[in-house]
Amino acid sequence: MAFDVGTPINTALLLFILYSVQKIVFPSTSLPKEIPHEFRNGYSWLPKSHQPTVLFKTYTPKTLAPFHGKDNGRILLAINGIVFDVTAGRNFYGPRNFAGRDASKGMAKQSFDLDMLTPIDQPLDKLTDLQPDEIDNMKGWVEHFSNKYIVCGKLVENDVA
């Protein structure tokens, strides 16, 4: 059989075969210029960024107030001096009464009334007028929130921070 590669198809096929065989017999061993960020692009890959973590901050009533979520920002809520990030529960704790405020009394008394909140520039509510079962109720809410949401800070008086 004459080895006539004058015909273009034969030439093309022959070149393809030679190229593939060369790749099989001489695999590439060059190091990549930079580490790939997708596992499809390479076996030794690294994700582009770290898992997001929240920095534990100390908040005062004044610095906590901006986190009411009205501008699609984070929503923070404080119970018993612990600040929770409840952005995930936007539907429940959205721009309403308790977002960005100390909700301890409201959680204890199971009420969403506005008079449960103390104004921002006054000292924190000491919660001395609560009944034992209301304190238990509030502790139950703290437990529920700790399991469901992220604890991201603590709440102190305005002049302490």
């Binding site: 076996y43 920095l55 992220i150």
Partner: protein
């Protein structure tokens, strides 16, 4: 135009042939690629990260398999609570420990006899006395350790022989167990210390010469090991109350990076958690079993070496150690960590080694030797090296490939001897490999190489790479000789965080870098400064007391390991030089 379309597309028999070949070659290239041993998507998230972090610190990292909510595994099996439970009576097959072929039942008998004999002849009291073990790695070490722990008598061990005089000064033992060759040196030290009125009891393994026995002072009582065992064999065994898992059964003394003597207290829980951690190093497809043989180059006097020995006991494997870490020898020769040392373990009558726990210097020497042997077949080696590297960069390594048969099996056999074919995993600890050795090591040994981070206060490894992880992050631009290989995520029973982290850099997305602190069941508790005050009144400071926060390092149980470390985005850790 002279040609028409039909002229261009003319086909003949040759076309069909070439077409078939092209199709085959294409299919070969596409589907015959080596499959990675572990899918790279799993390697993208190796630790579980906490959602919140304190200022100046990083978040808490745990192994992805353990997760943040679960408790740490404390024991390899639910029935193992104290050290003696690690000798499982349901395993009946004999295995070889150093040169002694023994079954678990026989081992338990020997342990009970020795314990009883020692209590009677050396007048030891449970929970009051302590015994110093000045033994090289041998079966007597394990028997003594198990016997003393079952009677709640703490044992003391040394990780290096130059710690002997400081330890004798600060923690005088009620009894000492040592080898016959070391007895003269020990007697000299005791006489030099010149402690009047102190009675010493020494149990000697082996036969001391009569000259040495004659030089024994009247206050020193020397017993032979064989006599003690025989005594305990004859009489009914003394049963002591079972120790609690949180009891300290051993104190290991080591020298920290500043050269100070530190001691760390090992409890039963530390060792069982360490055994569980080492057990978890192996993938499910290749677990440890009683068919394996473990060779370790880590001395039993240290916590890491002890955890490895107890893994061997628990799993029923054969076990031996290498010669370079004979701590107590009559001569002054220090062992070199090289290939001959690795082979020295085979001088014991153990079956061919399958799992090697080595130090980085051993691995460097081995890999060097194997690659030099392989280079002797020039042409084939060029191909073999290229192909092996290409398949490792796809995530696959195996001993059964064509290139192994042609080049590397012969090279390994020339270096390691006939046992070369059985080595199936190499675990590197007590030191750090440099990044550019990792891939050549995988090519040369053609088996998973697990790089770990160890510390004298942690039983077992603290961090370990996934067993089937073959990733190599060297790029064409950075210089790999300058950095260490990554050590992977924390092991299943450790949680870790970094102190001294730059908050603003991390908030911007940089890798957290800082000082490593760990916590978890295998982390042992160091002796505090007052206990280590030597006779000159100089108080030794622990590494932990210089952390940036100014608190003592065991605030909430976090222990500073003294490494500066960086976290990569996939949850793997890397020590910064």
């Amino acid at each position: 135009m002279a040609f028409s379309i039909s002229d261009l597309l003319v086909t003949d028999d040759l076309t069909i042939l070439l077409g078939l070949i092209a199709g085959t070659v294409f299919l070969l290239r596409t589907f015959y690629r080596p499959q990675p041993l572990v899918h790279p998507i799993l390697l993208g998230r190796q630790s579980e990260v906490a959602k919140v972090r304190n200022p100046g610190e990083s978040a808490v990292y745990r192994n992805y398999g353990t997760g943040l909510m679960n408790r740490f595994p404390l024991r390899p099996h639910k029935d193992v609570h104290v050290l003696s439970d690690l000798v499982r009576s349901d395993l009946e097959a004999p295995r070889t420990l150093w040169s002694t072929k023994i079954t678990n039942a026989a081992l338990q008998d020997r342990v009970a006899s020795f314990g009883t004999g020692l209590l009677r002849l050396a007048n030891l009291q449970t929970q009051e006395s302590n015994v110093l073990l000045l033994l090289n790695d041998c079966i007597e070490f394990l028997i003594a350790d198990l016997a003393l722990s079952s009677h709640s008598i703490p044992s003391m061990t040394l990780a290096a022989s130059n710690l002997l005089s400081p330890v004798l000064d600060t923690h005088p033992p009620s009894a000492i167990i040592t080898h016959a060759e070391f007895l003269p040196t020990l007697l000299e030290l005791i006489y030099d210390a010149g402690e009047e009125g102190r009675h010493h009891t020494i149990v000697v393994v082996g036969e001391p010469s009569s000259r040495v026995m004659a030089s024994v002072a009247s206050k020193v009582k020397v017993l032979l090991w064989t006599d003690v065992e025989r005594e305990g064999f004859k009489v009914p065994k003394i049963m002591s109350p079972l120790p609690k898992p949180s009891d300290v059964f051993s104190v290991s003394f080591f020298a920290d990076s500043d050269g100070h003597v530190q001691g760390t207290q090992i409890t039963h829980t530390n060792i069982t958690a360490g055994v569980a951690a080492i057990h978890a190093l192996f993938p499910v497809s290749a677990l440890l079993s009683s068919l394996d043989t473990i060779v370790s180059s880590h001395s039993l006097g240290g916590t890491y070496g002890r955890a490895i020995a107890y893994v061997a006991i628990f799993e029923g494997t054969s076990f031996a150690t290498t010669e370079s870490f004979k701590l107590f020898r009559a001569d002054e020769v220090t062992g070199k960590q090289d290939v001959a040392d690795v082979l020295s373990a085979q001088l014991h009558t153990i079956p061919s080694a399958t799992i090697l726990f080595l130090k980085p210097a051993h691995v460097d020497a081995l890999v060097d030797a194997i690659l030099r042997e392989a280079k002797k077949s020039l042409v084939l080696n060029a191909f073999a090296w290229r192909h092996k590297n290409a398949s490792i960069s796809e995530g696959f390594v195996s001993k059964d490939t064509l290139w192994d048969r042609l080049v590397y099996d012969a090279a390994r056999a020339n270096v390691i001897g006939e046992g070369a074919g059985t080595v199936r995993t190499v675990i590197v600890g007590e030191g750090l490999l440099s990044a550019n050795v990792l891939t050549p090591a995988r090519v040369a040994l053609s088996c998973p190489i697990i790089h770990t981070l160890t510390h004298p206060t942690v039983a077992g490894p603290a961090f370990a790479l996934h067993a089937l992880d073959l990733q190599d992050f060297s790029t064409a631009e950075e210089d790999p000789t300058k950095s260490f290989a990554p050590v992977g995520p924390p092991t299943v029973s450790i949680e870790a965080k970094l102190l001294g982290v730059d908050d603003s850099a991390v908030e911007d997305g940089a890798d957290p870098t800082g000082i490593l602190v760990v916590r978890g069941p295998p982390v042992t508790k160091q002796l505090s400064g007052e206990d280590l005050e030597s006779s000159s009144g100089y108080v030794n400071v622990r590494t932990g007391e210089s952390t940036s926060s100014g608190n003592a390092d065991d605030d909430d149980g976090w222990v500073n390991l003294g490494f500066k470390i960086r976290v990569l985005t996939n949850g793997s850790f890397r020590v910064v030089a």
